[in-house]
């Protein structure tokens, strides 16, 4: 690895901004976030960046590195071509706050709109439940989500079409799937998924799955099964006839 590398970092705020080059020493094992921190400490004290755990577990340091949505703490420099500048810019699907920080508050508001967990009555007189490990394992994949919002960042419906008011995005389909497939949950969210959360707008291009740092198979395991539930409930012709007959 070369002794120094150049990082082309977007600097700016709501009024606009531009890329600025910073050259800094690099060493074996470094990740992009290390380089950003070093630049921040030595050359640009006011460079805005979110981070916490530095181990891929909190989902704070999401950004676009050489155009790819990534967690900066899990992107090693030895995976990147360092002979040319490494570009680092904020997520594009959300409004900018400053430098690498975006306003992701929309995501937190979306979650409040999804019906919360509602368990069946306890299985045992002491108020506890019995569950099989296999049933727990089935939803574990969805519960790994670290809410980094990279899937929201690449979703066409949000990024290109800006349908934030009607569409909840892959993160919240994963959240809904975790609740719907929770072994104890008895709430029915299918109608809301169809009408209020616009699951039909997802045209399963699988971009979200591709960028998920937790390797959650978002489209195949969460969104498609939810779409099937919705279709089964709302569009099954026999059920439709039964509904017409008032059954």
């Amino acid at each position: 690895m070369s002794a120094t590398a150049t990082f082309r970092i977007w600097r700016g705020d709501t009024a606009g901004g531009r890329f600025q080059d910073y050259t800094t020493p690099v060493a074996a094992g470094m990740v992009v976030l290390d380089a950003v921190h070093r630049i921040q400490a030595e050359q640009a004290n006011d460079l805005a960046v979110r981070w916490n755990c530095k181990a891929g577990r909190c989902g704070s340091c999401s950004a676009e590195v050489n155009g790819m949505p990534k967690l900066m703490c899990m992107t090693r420099l030895d995976e990147l071509p360092l002979e040319r500048p490494v570009t680092i810019e904020p997520m594009q699907a959300f409004p900018i706050v400053k430098d690498l920080v975006t306003d992701v508050s929309w995501n937190f508001a979306v979650k409040r709109r999804i019906a919360p967990f509602r368990p069946r009555p306890p299985d045992a007189p002491d108020g506890t439940w019995r569950m099989a490990q296999a049933d727990v394992d089935r939803v574990m994949e969805f519960r790994k989500c670290i809410e980094c919002f990279l899937c929201q960042d690449v979703c066409h419906v949000l990024r290109d079409h800006q349908r934030h008011t009607e569409f909840i995005g892959p993160r919240y389909f994963v959240h809904a799937a975790a609740l719907e497939m929770h072994p104890l949950d008895v709430e029915d969210r299918t109608e809301a998924l169809r009408r209020e959360h616009a699951i039909g707008l997802c045209n399963i291009t699988k971009c979200c799955t591709k960028v998920c740092p937790e390797q959650i198979t978002i489209t195949d395991n969460a969104i498609i099964p939810l779409k099937e539930r919705v279709a089964d409930k709302a569009y099954d012709p026999i059920r439709a006839i039964l509904r017409m007959l008032g059954a």
Binding site: A27, C53, K54, R57, F108, D185
Partner: protein, 609 residues
């Protein structure tokens, strides 16, 4: 500064911090019918609780029916070397099971026993499998459950907002002054009760598992408001942090690796932990490798392997190996879980299933496949046992209306915390703090705040923008923070000495002077340089408190190890070190007698020794 410049919020209960303790407290207070606000430095759900990997200690006795609150209580006291607050240890052991079941009722999912109940795993210092867990991401499961439950309860959350001063009306708490990161504007919170749940102090050290947030804010805010701090000399160094590559140094490697059968070896391949087993644990520790392995696989007749001794002891053994030249290439020792393939069919899948986070972390950050090769690990600054002195039942500090819960409160863990006891601590005492803060707020409406005090605090916070960079190079905020971390690591670390700690105090005095002259560039909007400059005050306060308390305790006990006083001292074991602000503003150290446990608890301790 005109009053109009503060956006003002009114709550009955203000919770500072949104990790496990803060969220659990907020949920409880909100359920009691009062208006609750939560202020947190990061986004919701990013607090360090997400990093907790091992599990929640609770004597459910699902896996081993010999377990009970009594055994959990005795384990906690033994782990804390008997300087714990006995009443907190008792309440914690008694109430943890109910707090866990409640989490399940709110949607948390834990690994199961074959008959469908909550599974529990082994951990250091716990006599029986006691840790409720889900793989190695229990903290994430817990924080997400609390977060989702809390937001549907209508709690107001002020994200990316940092409190810089607690405000009082006479002796009683009245609110807090904070700034929000995004625009850098000040916010004034008025509240009848305030709960501190700000977590730890790890950023005072160079090698730490803690993120940027853990600058001892709650400790320093409480101290400045006149509250007592206790046990500040007891800082836990987790034995297994990553040591290579340099950029990930300090990141936690869960104790669950050892709970699942992982072993520690030096460069000669020797399991060095067998060489030094403390007398207090001799009866409960395996004396051969086979017995240790059988214990990790659930054999009830086997005793635990020495790798699962308490964290303070394991950390010191690792330091000894490296100091004596038997360490790994990058200055740690080897932690090996891959070896279990000698014992288990499909060991690779088993490791990935039980420790998915660790597999991922080592693969991606160090290029190490833990199913095939050993990890390199060494001690990392992890957890502060000391903190705000609180009443065991209510969690109220010595300042009326000011409560504290979780890592920033003290008492439960004594001289050393057992793994798994912090998640249960957050739940048990978060709940209690929420309940009693709500009760207090119902009886006491928010008092008036002193505008002059608020203005003065706001002006002081903005001072780094006003100063001119001076000639003799006071240093920028990041440089000052790094210097502090370096000398605290070197002079007040795992092994301590009077002369070194005196030097650390001199450095703290010097750094305080320079911090008062530091300057920041840019404007108030999302400016990490400015935030770091403000954090320095808290870091310097807790560093001084740690150093003064450590100087005062002239013995070795738990996490506090003195090279110049390497033995335990019975007299020192009967006192608590108290730190408080003197009338002249200087930091004072006092020794106060520990409360004596009642006879029935003493009997439990003796019986289970």
């Amino acid at each position: 500064m005109a009053a109009a410049e503060y956006q003002t919020h009114e709550h009955d209960v203000l919770v500072i911090g949104a990790g496990g303790a803060g969220l659990r407290a907020a949920i409880e207070a909100s359920a009691a019918g009062v208006r609750v606000g939560v202020v947190c430095k990061s986004l919701l759900g990013k607090a360090h609780t997400v990093m907790a990997e091992g599990g929640i200690a609770a004597a459910l006795a699902n896996v081993d029916d010999r377990d009970s609150w009594r055994v959990h209580f005795a384990d906690t006291m033994r782990g804390g070397q008997y300087v714990n607050n006995w009443r907190m240890a008792q309440l914690h052991a008694q109430e943890a099971p109910a707090r866990v079941r409640e989490l399940e009722a709110w949607g948390a999912l834990f690994d199961r026993t074959p008959d469908g109940r909550i599974l529990q795993r082994n951990f250091g210092g716990h006599a029986y499998p006691r840790l409720v867990h889900v793989g190695d991401r229990t903290g994430l499961e817990m924080i997400r459950t609390l977060q989702d439950h809390g937001v549907h309860q209508g709690i107001d959350v002020h994200m990316e907002c940092t409190v810089i001063r607690l405000l009082k009306d006479g002796e009683r708490i009245a609110g807090a002054l904070a700034y929000e990161r995004e625009r850098g504007r000040f916010r004034l919170f008025r509240a009848g009760a305030v709960i501190l749940a700000t977590g730890g102090v790890g950023r005072a050290y160079r090698i730490t598992s803690n993120s940027w947030e853990y600058t001892g804010d709650g400790h320093a805010l409480a101290y400045a408001a006149g509250a007592d701090l206790i046990d500040m000399e007891f800082l836990q160094f987790h034995p297994t942090g990553m040591v290579w590559p340099p950029s990930v140094q300090g990141i936690l490697v869960t104790e669950a690796v050892r709970g699942e059968g992982g072993v520690l070896r030096n460069k000669d391949g020797r399991r060095f932990m067998f060489a030094d087993i403390p007398p207090l644990y001799k009866n409960q520790t395996a004396d051969n490798e086979d017995e240790g392995w059988r214990y990790t696989q659930g054999d009830k007749s086997a005793r635990r392997p020495p790798e699962l001794l308490t964290r303070d002891h394991v950390a010191r053994c690792i330091v000894r190996e490296t100091k004596e030249g038997r360490g790994s290439p990058h200055g740690g020792v080897f932690l090996d879980i891959a070896w279990i393939r000698e014992k288990l069919p499909r060991a690779e899948a088993h490791i990935k299933n039980k420790l998915p986070g660790m597999y991922h972390q080592f693969k991606q950050l160090a290029g190490v496949d833990i199913t095939k090769e050993p990890m390199e690990v060494g001690p990392t600054t992890h957890y502060m046992m000391g903190g705000v002195r609180v009443d065991a039942e209510t969690q109220m500090s010595t300042v009326p209306g000011l409560f504290a819960a979780g890592e920033c409160a003290a008492g439960l863990h004594g001289a050393n915390r057992l793994g798994g006891n912090s998640l249960s601590d957050l739940l048990v005492f978060g709940q209690r703090a929420g309940e009693f803060a709500a009760q207090f707020a119902k009886q006491h409406r928010a008092g008036p705040v002193d505008r002059e005090e608020v203005d003065a605090a706001a002006r002081a916070a903005l001072a780094p923008f006003e100063r001119r960079a001076d000639q003799d190079g006071g240093g920028g905020p990041f440089q000052l923070q790094a210097e502090l971390q370096d000398f605290m690591q070197d002079l007040v670390g795992i092994v301590r000495r009077e002369e070194e700690m005196r030097r650390a105090l001199d450095r703290i005095v010097e750094l305080k002077r320079r911090a008062a002259r530091t300057t920041v560039v840019g404007n108030r909007e999302y400016n990490p340089g400015w935030h770091t400059a403000l954090d320095l005050d808290c870091l310097l306060t807790v560093s001084e408190a740690i150093t003064r308390a450590a100087l005062d305790r002239k013995e070795s006990r738990g996490a506090h190890f003195r090279d110049d006083y390497p033995k335990k001292d019975d007299a020192a074991g009967r006192v608590t070190t108290v730190i408080r602000k003197g009338s002249g503003g200087d930091m004072q150290v006092a020794r106060e007698p520990l409360p004596e446990p009642p006879a029935e608890l003493k009997a439990i301790i003796e019986e289970l020794k």
